[in-house]
Symmetry: C2
Subunit: 341 residues, 2 copies
DNA sequence: CTGAAAGCGCTTACAG
DNA sequence: CTGAAAGCGCTTACAG
């Protein structure tokens, strides 16, 4: 209305830009996609016009374009700091590359996860990064076969699904070696929770590492929350033969356990040693600071994003089978076995 | 290829469904949008055909539809547990209502924030929920005027931008009253960090509450990280007149401060009291458990999503000016002022 | 209640 | 290097 170029209803289109710049709509389209086919003076003129008019590219109308520049991320629970770090790592790389993240939270429900996958496909996401909810069957039935899909942290039983994970077994071996070197022989694995691959592999890694040293593995199941862990750890100390060390399913469980042990007067790092898994941000700030296995969620997320972008680029499935190593971070929640100081 | 209905290239379209179901494409389109115009037997037949063929609705092609069913969320930093709770609250409500969340992380950079807003508009998001990066000017210049935009937690200086926030001043008053009742009169505000509305309002609330009681406010600036807070808290105790209580910018600062105080042998809750702000999940599990102001990020997020969906539905701007009250949660990081036990 | 036609705002060959 | 034409897979009046 102001300059005769603004349409009375709706927003500006590529045609408005073309007319204002004195070129054809094809040329504007090519400029929008940074094509090298357009001469520099022409593209500069078009860009200047776009800026002047305040035109916003409508990607939804780019229905014939191969890519949507949308990538879906599906995780079980954003309020778990481990998953939010992972998501932050994914998003940073996608954003840098010009993609936009679409987020979904399955809250560990397979049906909700399927619904989210369905919706993301309706929005034509170029790829999916998913940490499967507990009990997920193969994704073959839910996602279009042509959609690049990368599993992270956990994987379904189907070997054909692509996976970027963590070497949980190696991490557990590091934890056991550390405790064994401190003289511990009565070690309990705390937090046998859900039955997904990440839990199974941690447990198996723990068991193998103990047996290799001729020690008997012990388990104390508990929910993966701070309060469940606090109760379970306290209950454990009332056993006939209380352990001298705890290896926890993750840092959240470990921090809960430390709180529970503190509440019954046990000195963590002296009376009993506690090891976590993940190395979340607060692990170094709880009292005592937590010895843990660093699984570097942020970098894992960044790597997942890179794999998926490469697959989108090459029109192929993401590279599979990668497993990232972990690192032991020794702090003050572990110490010599009592009587061995 | 298998049944003659699957096209050799590309995915199924609405026309494939129409043909297989023996109806017109308009009818299929109406069924996809749950129109009541279609007779039940017809819509059942169409739905059955969709399921049988495995057709996936292509929302990107629905270029003429009023809504994209995409809503953008822009926050400064996903790895801050406060923001991830907020995001989880937003996403849960959007997901329930059939919308999909598009996520962006400004990392406190105004230019990155503008770029993200630009991209989200290219994807035709129906609305934007944003916690502005430090130093954000009004969004009037960045976002289309027609796009419903709701600010959360922080707001720009422009009064015209719609905002859903927290009553920071009331929260600070609660914290000061609690400490005053315990006999504290030497209280320091720890963590004067960035200059956004949330910080300014907390500081103002602190100052007002102290002055009302005839007390002199004191400030100790520090970065909003655990380690900065740890150093600053320890430095504070070396003052000529060390405070007897700390009110911290947020829980992250409070937990850092507790770690720093512990490291120099101060007993938090006895030698010195510490109050946080936010009540993040780990606040109850640090040692000692943290007294803090609960700002209920998850519920704030849910409310933000509801406001924005209502605005999208009514084709209006989101209701503005809402400010949610806070709640004091007393734990063991606060106690009587030394000499007043 | 259903269908044929026109249209949305882009992209993609293709001609020059 | 640029432009006219056809096409993408939907939605939207409109006629019956």
């Amino acid at each position: 209305v102001a300059d005769g170029k603004t349409p009375e209803k709706g927003l500006l289109t590529i045609d408005d830009v073309a007319q204002a710049a004195g070129v054809s709509r094809s040329t504007v389209s090519l400029v929008l996609r940074n094509s090298t086919l357009v001469a520099t003076p022409t593209s500069e003129k078009v860009r200047e016009t776009i800026a002047r008019l305040g035109y916003v590219y409508n990607r939804k109308a780019a229905i014939r374009a191969r890519l949507s520049h949308l990538i879906g991320i599906i995780i079980p629970d954003l309020s778990n700091p481990f998953f939010s770090e992972l998501t932050a790592g994914i998003d940073a790389v996608l954003n840098e590359a010009g993609w936009v993240s679409v987020l979904g939270s399955s809250r560990e429900a397979v049906e909700r996860q399927s619904l989210i996958i369905q919706r993301m496909q309706e929005h034509q996401v170029d790829a999916l990064i998913v940490c499967p909810a507990v009990g997920s069957p193969s994704f073959a039935g839910v996602a279009q076969p042509s959609l690049p899909l990368l599993q992270v942290l956990r994987h379904t039983d189907t070997a054909s699904d692509h996976y970027l994970g963590i070497d949980y077994a190696q991490g557990m071996a590091l934890a056991v070696e550390h405790l064994a070197a401190l003289g511990h022989s009565s070690i309990v694995f705390l937090g046998e929770g859900p039955h997904h691959s990440a839990a199974i592999e941690r447990r198996a890694g723990f068991e193998d590492a103990l047996r290799r040293r001729g020690l008997e593995p012990r388990y104390k199941p508990c929910g993966l929350t701070r309060s469940d862990a606090a109760d379970a750890a306290a209950a454990l100390m009332a056993d006939a033969e209380p352990p001298t060390a705890l290896i926890c399913f993750n840092d959240v469980v470990a921090m809960g356990a430390m709180a529970g042990l503190d509440a019954i007067g046990k000195r963590v790092g002296a009376d009993i040693s506690v090891v976590g898994f993940d190395n979340v941000a607060e692990a170094s700030f709880v009292r005592p600071p937590l010895t843990t296995i660093d699984s570097n969620a942020r970098e894992l997320g960044a790597q997942a994003a890179r794999l998926v972008l490469a697959a989108v680029d090459k029109r192929s499935e993401p590279a599979a089978g990668s497993v990232m190593p972990t690192r032991l971070v020794v702090r003050r929640s572990t110490g010599p076995a009592p009587g061995r100081a």
